[in-house]
Amino acid sequence: MANLIKPFRTDLHVHTVLSPCAEVEMIPPLIVEYALDLGITLIAITDHNSSANIEAVQKAAFKTPLNVLPGMELQTREEVHSLCLFDTIEQIYQLQKLVTETLPPIKNEAEHFGEQFVVDETGEFIRREEQLLLVSSSLSLNDAWKFVNDLGGLFIPAHVNRKAFGLLGSLGLVPTDIQIEALEISKHLNPEDAAKQLPQVRGYPLIQDGDVHRLDEFNGKMTLYLEAPTIDEIRMAIHNNNGRLVGFS
């Protein structure tokens, strides 16, 4: 018998204490607890240029209804943030290898940028990430898109409506020489208003996330209708195929 399409309340843009701009409360057990409290059953962990806390959150969510996808908020050389979403840890570590090689070697200064903590599934300190994560990789948007796509991932420019590090702020228009499948808008912009206010986004599927840096920033307004929490299924939902879809409440 075929699986049934089920609703997954979803937030695909969640930071942890590894991101210098995130609050120290963004540790695995609290992320899981707060997401579940809102009825969210699908998240992606997307730290800036880094993936070192994903497995800890996955472990914290083990045997709970919360599904945790590996992701990264990549900053390419155009100063554009994009979500790179995958099914497996192996995929994200392949991207990580490339990103690590293409970051400028600048050390984080915690007093200016904030702490970058790698933690375990209980939130216990493991180490400080030395590399400053709030910088641009020398990868171009186009090359990053291709790499993520070839790996089987989903590449979604983040908070495109935001001036700082948003696709439209930095690049004015959605590039047409690569096939961008969807755009993320920030939670303060109603998806219906987005198409009215931003002519550049018309025709592109939209997703909306919390860009969660604090526990009270989960969005919880987006529901994906999927058979299973996988990249293939999310892709179908974005393109409104085979009964999968993206809903906003």
């Binding site: 155009e78 186009n142 001036k163 702020g169 930095s170 690049l171 004015g172 228009l173």
Partner: protein
């Protein structure tokens, strides 16, 4: 001041097809690396100094009919971007110098607006 004089004085490399640059007179100058700002702020037919080399610079230059784009710090557009620039008749110039030096030199040459 025409574009050929600017190219000579700033020792700029021409990345797109050669044309009669002495016939092009930029109206003014503008600088930003945020394309949304350029679209809103760069004067028509001006010269734009930036280190942004993403292919969207061609769409912006076409929209505003810019006289030329000067890409600084040696940032290199992809070949496909240069091909599109040639198709659209957009002039792309390049220098290893940072944006600050390019603008300072233009100002020193008396290119004010």
């Amino acid at each position: 001041m025409n574009l050929q004089e600017i190219i000579n004085n700033l020792d700029l490399k021409v990345l797109t097809e050669p044309k009669d640059f002495s016939a092009i007179e930029p109206t003014c100058g503008y600088s930003s690396d945020l394309l949304s700002c350029v679209m809103a702020g760069a004067p028509h037919k001006s010269i734009w100094v930036t280190l942004q080399a993403h292919s969207n610079i061609i769409a912006v230059a076409t929209l505003l009919e810019l006289s030329a784009i000067v890409i600084t710090e040696g940032a290199m557009p992809e070949l496909a971007t240069l091909a599109r620039a040639n198709e659209e008749g957009v002039v792309i110039l390049s220098t290893e110098k940072p944006t600050f030096n390019v603008i300072g030199k233009l100002w020193e040459m008396g290119f004010h607006c």
